[in-house]
């Protein structure tokens, strides 16, 4: 009986060791599977040297906890644009660095899409500390849309400080993603109609033309069906 128990203990130990040996490489196997997928998608789209370098950058990003998928997509974007390999590699490296900076600003627990949105915001000139402010304005929530709305406003020539102050105010107000997007669309409509970007943003969000002095105006900014803000007609002065 003792011999059987001893043997069972030995077998159990062997089982545990074997499980450890087999299970330990599972993450690396998964990563390897991801790299295989990246390799398959890059093959034929970029030359071999570029593919190897992009894969290396993606692997490096993955070890840093950055979304390697986004890096591969960026390389494929360059490939479809028929950019030379060296340019693709350079831009992909810069993109990885922006993702890294976005993670520093948004925190280590930021989700991949938040990092992608953060990297795009950084590319458009939004400072990293603004990203951190947006993160802190919605603790525990996904801030992808808030970051994207900030970037979209900046792309519409809204000054960075006005755009970020507006989104921070809106995010702190507990608006949903859909409401944020609706307000952004309203601002874009106003800009199309000729309102200055900063003015349109300030009016929609703060109800005043001076974003620095305004507080969030629920009446002015959050009404999604509010009439477009039309620019004041030029006043004609008699000579």
């Amino acid at each position: 009986m003792i011999a059987r128990l001893s043997f069972a203990r030995t077998a159990l130990t062997a089982l545990c060791v074997a499980v450890t040996l087999v299970a330990a490489p599972v993450p690396s196997v998964a990563q390897s599977a991801g790299m295989d997928d990246f390799n398959r998608r890059l093959t034929g789209r970029v030359d071999d040297a570029t593919r190897q370098q992009v894969l290396q950058i993606a692997a490096d990003a993955a070890t840093r906890g950055l979304p390697a998928e986004a890096i591969v997509v960026k390389a494929l974007h360059g490939a479809s644009s028929r950019a030379p390999g060296a340019k693709i590699v350079r831009i992909v490296e810069q993109y990885r660095d922006r993702l890294d900076l976005a993670r520093v600003s948004l925190g280590g627990r930021a989700e991949p899409m938040e990092l992608v949105a953060g990297a795009e915001a950084l590319f458009m000139g939004v400072p990293g500390d603004i990203l951190g402010h947006i993160r802190r304005s919605q603790p525990g929530s996904n801030v992808t849309v808030a970051l994207a709305v900030t970037t979209d406003l900046v792309k519409q020539n809204v000054p960075v400080d006005v755009a970020s102050r507006a989104v921070l105010a809106l995010a702190s107000g507990g608006l949903s993603d859909a409401q944020l997007i609706d307000i952004r669309k309203s601002i874009e409509r106003d800009i199309e109609l000729g309102t200055l970007p900063a003015t349109a943003t300030s009016l929609r969000v703060f109800g005043t033309t001076d974003a620095s002095s305004g507080t969030v105006s629920l009446r002015a900014g959050f009404r999604q069906n509010a009439a477009p803000v039309r620019p004041e007609p030029p006043t004609l002065r008699r000579p």
């Binding site: 074997a18 196997v29 494929l76 479809s80 795009e120 992808t144 849309v145 952004r184």
Partner: protein, 240 residues
């Protein structure tokens, strides 16, 4: 002259040698005739069977348990598991194989390229769509929203594709279908909410020339890192 300690050491050494010799002898395997061993073991088994038969069945001190209690007792009763290291290794390999296979299958079924060309062109005309994007339906799978991309292409357009961050910027992944009237081309693409996407239309003309064109109905954006035009789309998370 030999002192007393040295004498003791010599005695100990002699004892050690004797013990070692005895141990060697005892450890030597005893050759037993296999027939004799078989006969002995047969008798042992027979004696054990007789003894077991002679022992009266244990008295049940408690009331006869119900079927459920018996089942519970069966589950609670400890058992000795005996298996060879080789079997254990095989089990572990099978366990690991299942994990790896699951990871592989999950990767295969993941919606990496979320494209479904479902034109619904008539609906586009009916809805008065002349370009841009609009949500058209909710899909049941993976919470994606079906978004219709439409584009009014020039008369010499032979093909219009939609490329973006959602389909690896592959011109062959999502081809727009022309609506019969007004040069409207459309494609429906399932996209996940709560995310931001970049896209552009690729228009191929009669001469086979490709042009990358931003969505004219979306706000104009500065060129991307590769110097190409682009449009952006941010989707809110679906409320469902």
């Amino acid at each position: 002259m030999i002192d007393q300690d040295s004498a003791l050491d010599l005695d100990n050494e002699a004892d050690d040698e004797l013990i070692a010799a005895v141990t060697r002898t005892l450890r030597e395997p005893v050759a037993v005739n296999s027939r004799l061993e078989f006969a002995i073991m047969a008798q042992v088994r027979a004696a054990a069977a007789e003894q077991a038969a002679a022992v009266p069945a244990p008295r049940v001190l408690t009331p006869v348990p119900g079927r459920l209690a018996a089942l519970a007792a069966w589950w609670r009763q400890p058992r000795t598991l005996t298996l060879s290291p080789l079997t254990g290794l095989a089990c572990a390999m099978a366990f690991g194989g299942v994990i790896v296979l699951s990871a592989w299958l999950a990767r295969e079924t993941a919606p990496t390229t979320m494209i479904a060309a479902a034109p619904a062109a008539e609906a586009a005309v009916r809805d008065g769509v002349r370009g841009g994007t609009m949500p058209v339906a909710m899909t049941a799978s993976n919470g994606a929203q079906m978004v219709r991309f439409s584009y009014v292409a020039p008369a010499d357009a032979q093909a219009v594709s939609l490329v973006g961050t959602f389909n690896d910027w592959d011109p062959n992944a999502a081809r727009l279908t022309p609506v019969e009237r007004d040069g409207v081309w459309t494609v429906d693409v399932p996209l996940l909410g709560g995310q931001t996407y970049q896209y552009v239309f690729v228009v191929t003309n009669d001469a086979g020339e490709e042009r990358w064109l931003a969505d004219p109905n979306a706000p104009s954006l500065p060129a991307d890192e590769f110097g190409q035009p682009r449009s952006a789309l941010t989707l809110a998370r679906s409320s469902s």
